[in-house]
């Protein structure tokens, strides 16, 4: 059931490339603007780069969240998924995984480029990528709960941000802290373990919360 749903999501995403590219383009453009905005002060830009990259990754992820269940909700597929899927958490997990592949994973791959544009030291890039690889699944999983809760609302975007952004803070704090520490020559294993733990917790709990949230949204229509 996971494979069936993932295949469906992947086909849909490959046929609506604008939705897939939007977060990546946003990340690239915003980093470009930051680089230009800091002018010639490359040293200061480099010092701020971990925070800038993580905040932009977080916002880019948020940008793609609203569409996660929107199409299926509007065409009625979501209520069919509620009725047909058993167990329901598997297709939900597949949807989140597909969304993570085109946002979190894609941004992890793009991270070295944008980090270098922000004058981040090359030695910090592996840590940045590991942190993004471990932290972005939590962003997608936690974000999916908010997206499922707000999918039935006409203008759910603001509410989604209000719901989700506070829950992103631990990932942001540990992610930025790890890169800052590696730039200062301090060991970062603790932050990496924390990011992994947060994502593990999210992957075990969030799909069930999403299923419940989808059911609430479908039943309210």
């Amino acid at each position: 059931m996971f494979r069936v749903q993932f295949h469906r999501e992947w086909l849909s995403m490959m046929r609506s490339r604008d939705e897939v590219l939007n977060p990546l383009v946003f990340l690239f453009l915003a980093v470009t603007l930051f680089a230009m905005g800091f002018g010639g002060d490359a040293k200061v830009l480099g010092e701020f780069s971990p925070g800038i990259v993580w905040v932009l990754v977080l916002l880019a992820n948020l940008l793609s969240l609203e569409a996660m269940f929107r199409r299926d909700f509007e065409d009625g597929s979501l209520e069919q998924m509620v009725l047909l899927a058993d167990p329901q958490f598997l297709p939900v997990l597949a949807k989140i995984t597909a969304q993570w592949c085109v946002t979190g994973f894609a941004m992890t791959l793009l991270a070295p480029v944008v980090a270098l544009m922000l004058n981040m030291p090359v030695s910090a890039l592996p840590t940045l990528m590991v942190c993004l690889l471990l932290g972005t699944p939590a962003l997608s999983l936690v974000g999916a709960v908010g997206a499922a809760l707000t999918v039935g609302l006409r203008r759910g975007g603001v509410l989604l941000a209000l719901l989700v952004l506070p829950l992103y803070l631990p990932v942001l704090i540990f992610g930025v802290s790890a890169v800052v520490d590696v730039m200062a020559g301090i060991d970062t294993v603790a932050q990496i373990y924390w990011l992994a733990a947060i994502s593990m917790l999210a992957v075990t709990a969030a799909p069930f919360a999403v299923v419940a949230a989808i059911r609430i949204s479908v039943e309210q229509t």
């Binding site: 059931m1 069936v4 749903q5 469906r8 086909l11 849909s12 046929r15 609506s16 199409r71 299926d72 509007e74 065409d75 009625g76 597929s77 209520e79 069919q80 998924m81 509620v82 009725l83 047909l84 899927a85 297709p91 479908v218 039943e219």
Partner: protein, 196 residues
Amino acid sequence: MFWCDALSEPLLTASGLACTRDRLSLFQDLNLTLHPGQCIEVHGPNGSGTSTLLRALAGLFPDFDGEVQASPALYLGHKPAINALLTPVENLRWYCRMGGSDADVAAALARVGLDHRLTSPCAELSQGQQRRVSLARLLVCERPLWLLDEPLTALDIDGHRVVHDIVVEHCASGGAVLCATHQSLGWQDATILRLG
């Protein structure tokens, strides 16, 4: 009070159904029994609760009083429930795999008159053709009980005939159909239930 009875073991039994939405009572003390081979058409003016009744029976609307016992049901709602970015074949395959069925998708689409649009994205199909893709779901998802909400919407005369034929065949093979519709399916054996 409404009673619709037949002889064999029922596929759907609902007793004492009552529903109020936005302080408006839609139906009260509604009793419904649907046996294999039986088709009930639910008629009623807009806002009389025909769609709400079907959603409640399908398990998509929990805010009602009464008891429902139903066999595995296939719910065909107002919305087409097809992904416009996928082709009719891809959409139906998803339904087959989710429902654990290995039905012949191409044959189902041919049955509803879409054999020439198998690989076109559903976004390129007309409203009526998209409705036909939805109807093809009935043929690939093997469920004894069908809950159909306005299945004739956007369909032409040939589409009406297709709906009539597959409903009659389903009932003849031991299935049962509860259909909310403003236009009769045209099957004389169907029982009429009026709401509102």
